[in-house]
């Protein structure tokens, strides 16, 4: 290349503030105070909602008080259920993560630190609303009381794996529970959710759809397809961006986070954008309720950015200490979702440190017992877990001749 000309153009490559060895640095960020953000009418025009893309809806302060108009005033019983499911999710993740390390499965992905995003949403939606999640919303399935044992059987690809060993461990599917079969291809589920919502509207149904994707995945064209179709046909769908700051090793700036918020994507399509503290169970619950009501009133889609932090590695194949400060998670300014909900319940007089410890132990025990049960059925690689011929089934409704022939080649 020739020597630099005066006034020459230069290429900008975004970089995070802190790398391994640096001190975590969230100093550039300011957030509205809990309770400070007004709650617009569910029927408000999209143009009045633009500013919500640039704020942050918060209900819980760090002492556990629920403040302001977004406070959803949920029954303590519901809050305790939320807490229980978050504890279960965390205990489950922890055990499965270690199971992978022990060679019992090929792969695992935790949702550590992001439990409120899935669990609060699951409780705010109707049980028959349809979810199109990414791979990090196991909390939904758990909050819908899908059997942990079945999840583990899938993770171990054992003989009782409902996916018959075909899918990666964490790629669940349960139509009965309104949980769409998870794809390995990022963001493909998002426009599918829009299509499902359109079908529900077409059919005069009452059910809405909700879908989740990571902030990194918003860069995919499928996200644009989803937002365009959702806006054009006013589909009854909630699009949830889980901004956990990282996409494997890439910080959110690589997905466009340096220039504006991810909620702002909604502004571009005229879709109401809500930006919420994703570690605030009450806030997530409240914005989900708001968006669900809007969708159910034929007022169309809402985009929600859940501002959170991926506490763990991307997956068991990842080592985050190679690209971010090891203590960045602990420095996260918006705290831990379980801890915060616990404090809230305690401040309400509806919970105590003791009850919390018991609940935590109960979650661990459930997971431990279930884990043993699943291991008894078998772990990855156990001989004969799946009949070899099962590989050829369900490619089509009826097996065509060429698959029958190939099955015969396998000698089965």
């Amino acid at each position: 290349m020739s020597p630099r000309k005066p006034n020459a153009l230069d290429l900008h490559i975004p970089a995070p503030r802190a790398r391994p060895g640096d001190k975590p640095d969230f100093s550039g960020w300011t957030f509205p105070e809990p309770g400070d953000t007004p709650r617009p009418d569910v029927g408000a025009a999209a143009v009045e909602l633009r500013e919500y893309a640039y704020g942050l809806i918060r209900v819980l302060d760090m002492e556990g008080n629920a403040l302001g108009p977004w406070s959803p005033h949920i029954e303590p019983e519901t809050l305790r259920r939320g807490l229980k499911y978050m504890l279960l999710t965390r205990a489950f993740d922890d055990r499965m993560y270690r199971a992978q390390r022990q060679g019992k499965t090929s792969f695992y992905m935790q949702s550590f630190g992001e439990e409120a995003v899935s669990v609060a949403a699951a409780l705010a939606l109707n049980p028959d609303d349809m979810c199109f999640p990414s791979y990090r919303q196991q909390g939904i399935l758990i909050a819908r009381d899908y059997p942990l044992l079945t999840m583990m059987n899938q993770i171990y690809s054992n003989a009782r794996d409902p996916m018959r060993g075909r899918q990666l461990p964490v790629m669940y599917s349960s139509k009965k529970d309104g949980f769409f079969t998870i794809s390995g291809n990022l963001a493909t589920q998002v426009p599918q959710a829009v299509g499902w919502a359109m079908a529900s509207a077409y059919s005069g149904d009452l059910r809405i759809a909700s879908t989740w994707l990571g902030e990194g995945s918003t860069a995919e064209g499928d996200f644009h397809a989803a937002m365009t179709f959702a806006a054009v046909y006013k589909a009854p769908v909630i699009v949830n961006i889980v901004n956990n700051q990282w996409a494997i090793s890439s910080f959110q700036g690589i997905a466009g986070g340096e220039n504006t918020t991810f909620a702002a994507r909604g502004v571009g399509y005229g879709v109401p954008p809500l930006r919420v503290d994703g570690n605030d169970f009450l806030a997530v619950y409240a914005v989900t309720k708001w968006a669900a009501e809007r969708a159910r009133s034929n007022l169309g889609p809402t985009l929600i950015e859940h501002f959170t932090y991926r506490g763990g590695p991307h997956s068991t194949s990842d080592d985050p200490s190679r690209y971010r400060p090891a203590d960045e998670a602990r420095a996260w300014p918006l705290g831990d979702p379980i801890e915060r909900l616990k404090r809230h319940l305690i401040s309400l007089g509806e919970w105590s440190e003791d009850r919390h410890r018991e609940a935590q132990d109960a979650a661990l025990e459930t997971v431990r017992t279930t884990g043993r049960e699943a291991e008894k059925v078998g772990v990855l690689g156990a001989e004969g877990a799946h009949a070899r011929e099962s590989m050829f089934e369900d490619v089509y409704k009826e097996m065509p001749w060429h698959l029958r022939q190939q099955r015969e080649e396998e000698g089965v």
């Binding site: 794809s183 426009p191 829009v194 065509p400």
Partner: protein, 337 residues
């Protein structure tokens, strides 16, 4: 019965199914009020309402994905990709999603989706209105690929595709939308009304997927073709002086292997014709299948007559298009061995 063009037959198939089944709906670019750039969805919006036949944003990924979501819900969407050349943005949704949802969810979710797209050249459409990407679908486990060659087949196969519980890629040979073009540019184009297969029942009927049709019975040489090339092959047979057997495959996957092997076992010679580029075209698979199933019957190397391995050239399209003389040449070669 009425004399229909292929466009009218396709329109009638959609109309018939929309009448029978409220779960059937159709959308795509310009398919609503306008009725599609080739008029296949004409009047359907006016008749069945905008919710059942509507325009889509220019995003083929979104069209496919929305339809997958609808199919998962329980509808039977039929989408139109305006030209097969524009299916690539939808390819991931078709290949990674539609094709695999049944398998990966163990029948928990299924995708009864039909993807219509006009394909093929011969209309001076240049590089991006002429392609034949069928091999990009036949390689994908979980998809069925169907290509009709006549109005009668078009309607019966489209109805079968819509009723099929798996995703079906339905490719329409646009060169024969309005008449059975046989590749001879020097002759006046025949209207469908002069062709017996334009006699199409008004109502419901279906032609099973996976079954080929013997378009011409013969003893000397088997010609495997589909879509427009069936007519070109028939014209070639006519002038070749050979008693060719022309198999119109109709379904590419799952292909009718029995019809193929029965014919080649009889003739011992095989010519494969398609418009798509040659390398890794569907003709390669047919060639492989024929030699696997009929090796000891073959008297001469299987010949492929195909589009060349170049983009589809605008002004030279008649040099590119597989014409009767090229097929006759291949037939002669295969007869000589």
């Amino acid at each position: 019965m009425a004399a229909m063009t292929m466009i009218q037959a396709l329109n009638s198939a959609l109309d018939t199914m929309m009448e029978r089944d409220p779960k059937v709906l159709t959308f795509g670019e310009d398919v609503g009020y306008f009725g599609g750039v080739f008029k296949v969805t004409e009047h359907l919006q006016q008749k069945h309402g905008a919710k059942r036949c509507f325009d889509a944003p220019i995003n083929e990924c979104g069209i496919a994905a929305a339809a997958i979501g609808m199919a998962v819900y329980g509808l039977r969407p039929v989408i139109e990709i305006q030209f097969a050349d524009y299916m690539y943005p939808a390819y991931d949704q078709l290949v990674s999603e539609a094709a695999r949802i049944r398998y990966r969810s163990v029948n928990d979710y299924t995708v009864p989706l039909t993807v219509r797209m006009p394909y093929g050249g011969g209309i001076y459409g240049g590089q991006t209105h002429s392609q034949s990407p069928e091999a990009l679908f036949t390689h994908v486990a979980g998809l069925k690929t169907v290509i009709p060659s006549t109005p009668y087949d078009a309607k019966g196969l489209l109805i079968a595709a819509i009723e099929d519980d798996d995703p079906v890629i339905f490719m329409e040979p646009k060169r024969v939308y309005n008449g059975p073009f046989d590749g001879r540019r020097d002759r006046p184009v025949q209207p469908w009304s002069k062709h017996p297969a334009s006699d199409v029942p008004e109502g419901y009927y279906r032609i099973p997927l996976g079954k080929a049709n013997v378009a011409r019975a013969g003893q000397d040489v088997t010609v495997l073709a589909y879509g427009t090339m069936v007519h070109v092959a028939l014209a070639a047979a006519e002038v070749s002086g050979l008693d060719a057997e022309i198999i119109d495959l109709r379904t590419l996957v799952p292909v009718d292997i029995e019809a193929i092997t029965a014919s080649v076992a009889k003739t011992g010679r095989c010519v494969i014709v398609h418009e798509a580029t040659r390398t890794s075209g569907y003709g390669a698979e047919l060639s492989a299948l024929v030699q696997e199933h009929c090796f000891y019957h073959l008297e001469a190397p299987i010949q492929r007559v195909t589009g060349y391995d170049t983009p589809y050239p605008h002004a030279l399209e008649w040099e590119y298009f597989p014409t009767p003389p090229r097929i006759v040449k291949a037939m002669r070669r295969v007869m000589e061995g």
